[in-house]
């Protein structure tokens, strides 16, 4: 039944490095909302990296910092030897073309009064990479790439289905031939059969072009099947980094809880899910110590409520920020 799968093994060449990124929003009356707290992530070339977590965990904010749609409060984001957070003006604009984004909601991502041809070629016009007369051919080429009929070039976004529109979003992002593609819940609004088509499409393109993908998602089963690595976030903090194929061996209590809330595809009465108690705490006043302490079934009185756990290496490409675990040296694996 597992038909979606990535088979690309890759060398570990880092293409993007976000170092200790923190993003705080002032919310008035002197209060500060910490959306992302001290997050460090590496993205390898040709890799699909998933960012997983509940709504409000800061995953979208983190990628918006990478896209420079937000300015970081602290930290650096290194791409191609340059710190993206420091770039300004024309240099920023030129760098932007290498990192493209597909948005969650394909109904609001386009100008409703532009035709598909112009939507796809808009970023190319911006960088003077295309003449008006070549636009039609380029748009048709991109449509073929995302497996849509070529004659939709003259349509408006409103005349297309959700799945088709999501492909237009992908076509527009890929028209720039980017190094990094950021997908913010790109398949959450679609039903399973369309989701599978979109995922297969992305992975097919990745195989051909060695594209690096950051894939924000809250469906762990999809992450297991299509991604190389997963980063789990909770309340603005990265709590676990794990090879996606090993998700079942997850160590952090939050990741384990996420796994247990996925409904298995088995007949009534045979499957079980267990739920996390309570709601995610307010990011306006972060608790001292581990962010997950109030909902954690394994919370220890000692340590968890006093100090923030550090990221520890527990296996190959597997890191956990939890007081329950100690470092495992590389030699003992």
């Amino acid at each position: 039944m597992t038909t979606i799968k990535t088979a690309v093994k890759h060398n570990k060449e880092i293409i993007l490095l976000a170092k200790k990124v923190t993003k705080k929003f002032p919310v008035g009356k002197g209060k500060v909302l910490t959306a992302v707290n001290d997050a460090t992530i590496r993205l390898f070339k040709g890799e699909t990296l998933a960012i997983v977590g509940e709504s409000g965990c800061g995953k979208s904010t983190l990628v918006k910092c990478i896209m420079r749609l937000h300015n970081v409060t602290d930290g650096s984001i290194i791409y191609d030897g340059k710190d993206l957070t420091k770039l300004e003006g024309e240099e920023l604009r030129q760098t932007r073309q290498h990192i493209q984004m597909v948005f969650q909601d394909p109904t609001t991502a386009f100008d409703p009064k532009m035709k598909i041809r112009d939507i796809i070629c808009e970023p190319l016009y911006n960088f003077n990479m295309i003449e008006k007369k070549d636009a039609d051919a380029k748009a048709r080429e991109m449509l073929r790439l995302v497996k849509l009929p070529e004659d939709v070039v003259d349509r408006f976004p409103a005349n297309m289905s959700g799945g088709q529109r999501q492909r237009i979003g992908i076509a527009r992002a890929l028209a720039m031939n980017p190094d990094i593609l950021v997908c913010d819940e790109a398949t959450s609004a679609l039903d399973v059969s369309v989701q599978k088509q979109i995922v297969d499409l992305l992975l097919g393109i990745q195989k051909k072009t060695n594209l690096s993908i950051i894939f924000i998602c809250h469906d762990l089963a999809l992450v297991y099947q299509m991604c190389h690595r997963a980063i789990v976030m909770y309340l603005g903090n990265v709590v676990e980094k794990i090879p996606a194929g090993n998700l079942k061996q997850a160590k952090h209590p939050y990741t384990k809880a996420l796994l247990k809330s996925v409904f298995p595809l088995v007949p009534k009465g045979e499957g079980s899910v267990s739920t996390l108690e309570g709601e995610i705490p307010s990011p306006l006043d972060l608790p001292v110590g581990c962010p997950f302490q109030d909902r954690c079934p394994e919370c220890m009185d000692h340590g968890c409520r006093e100090t923030m756990p550090e990221m520890r290496r527990v296996g190959k490409e597997h890191f956990v920020a939890c007081h329950l675990y100690d470092d495992v040296p590389e030699s003992q694996e």
Binding site: M1, T2, T3, I4, K5, T6, V8, K9, H10, K12, E54, S55, G56, S161, G162, D191, V192, S193, V194, Q195, K196, H218, D219, L220, A221, L222, Y224, Q225, M226, H228, P243, A244, G245, N246, L247, K248, Q249, A257, L258, L259, K260, S261, V262, F263, P264, L265, V266, P267, K268, G271, V273, S274, T275, L276, G278, E279, K316, E317
Partner: protein
């Protein structure tokens, strides 16, 4: 038999959307209707509650609820049934509510619409109902505006309102599709518990086959307004015959035991 739908056909304007759908449901049982967007699954349950949008109308068939054909209902008869004997939980309960009124005021208004009790009493029982859905601090929720709550909390308010009168039939239109996995598990669990206690029958429309398999006694698979296949949860998951059902099942990502090693 609580509900018996036979040969139901529905059109929007001149376009037939749903063809010849039948289903029957006993008290306390759960049916799931699954299928991709545009398959007509929402249209079917909207017809049962008599709330098809503008151009929609039933062109043939019967919807027998407690032995009475709902298609023939007059507006007065609907007032007896809808909101009390049959209720609905919508995909986004946030947009079902008035954005500029407190949730409590709307909940009380709903209760008093169907029951002759004082405002204080209604408030108290609304708070008790919210607490039953494991909503933290229900008094505060009563004085909140819809936009102040998270999606999961809003959805639980929707279920709380839907379950308040212990309806005989609860219609749920993609009640968890907009939620995270953790919140989805919570809301599904709470719906199941409350319904088991009150012996409420449920028809849930969803495209999440995992949720359908978990909740439903019977699963109905729809495509382009036709019923493709139906059967017990076990039959559909393990012994589906039709290609469309198999495709649908194959498209659901699953966490297997196999370890993918890329490093």
């Amino acid at each position: 038999m609580l509900l018996e739908v036979s040969n139901l056909s529905i059109s929007y304007g001149n376009h037939p959307i749903v063809h010849d759908v039948g289903l029957s449901l006993d008290a306390g049982k759960v049916i799931a209707i699954v299928g991709e967007s545009g398959s007509g699954k929402t249209t079917v349950i909207r017809a049962i509650l008599g709330c098809l949008p503008n151009e929609g109308h039933v062109t043939g068939g019967k919807i027998l609820f407690d032995g009475k054909d709902l298609v023939q209902n007059t507006p007065d008869e609907w007032r007896e049934v809808s909101g009390r004997k049959i209720t609905m939980v919508f995909q986004s309960s946030g947009s079902m509510l008035d954005p500029i009124q407190h949730i409590g005021k709307q909940f009380v208004e709903y209760i008093q619409q169907h029951e002759d009790i004082s405002t204080e009493e209604a408030e108290q029982s609304a708070i008790a109902m919210l607490a039953k859905m494991n909503l933290p601090n229900p008094e505060r929720i009563m004085t909140s505006f819809p936009f102040e709550l998270s999606g999961g909390m809003m959805q639980r308010v929707g279920v709380a309102m839907g379950m308040y009168f212990k309806p005989q039939l609860l219609l749920a239109d993609e009640p968890t599709s907009a939620l995270d996995v953790t919140t989805q598990a919570q809301v599904v669990e709470e719906m199941m518990q409350i319904c088991r206690k009150d012996n409420t029958a449920i028809i849930i429309v969803t495209h999440n086959l995992g949720v359908a398999a978990y909740m439903a006694d019977e699963i109905i698979v729809m495509q382009n307004g036709h019923v493709v296949e139906r059967g017990t949860s076990d039959y559909i998951i393990n012994h589906a015959q039709k290609d469309y059902t198999k495709e649908l099942l194959a498209a659901v990502p699953q966490i297997g035991d196999e370890v993918h090693d890329y490093y």
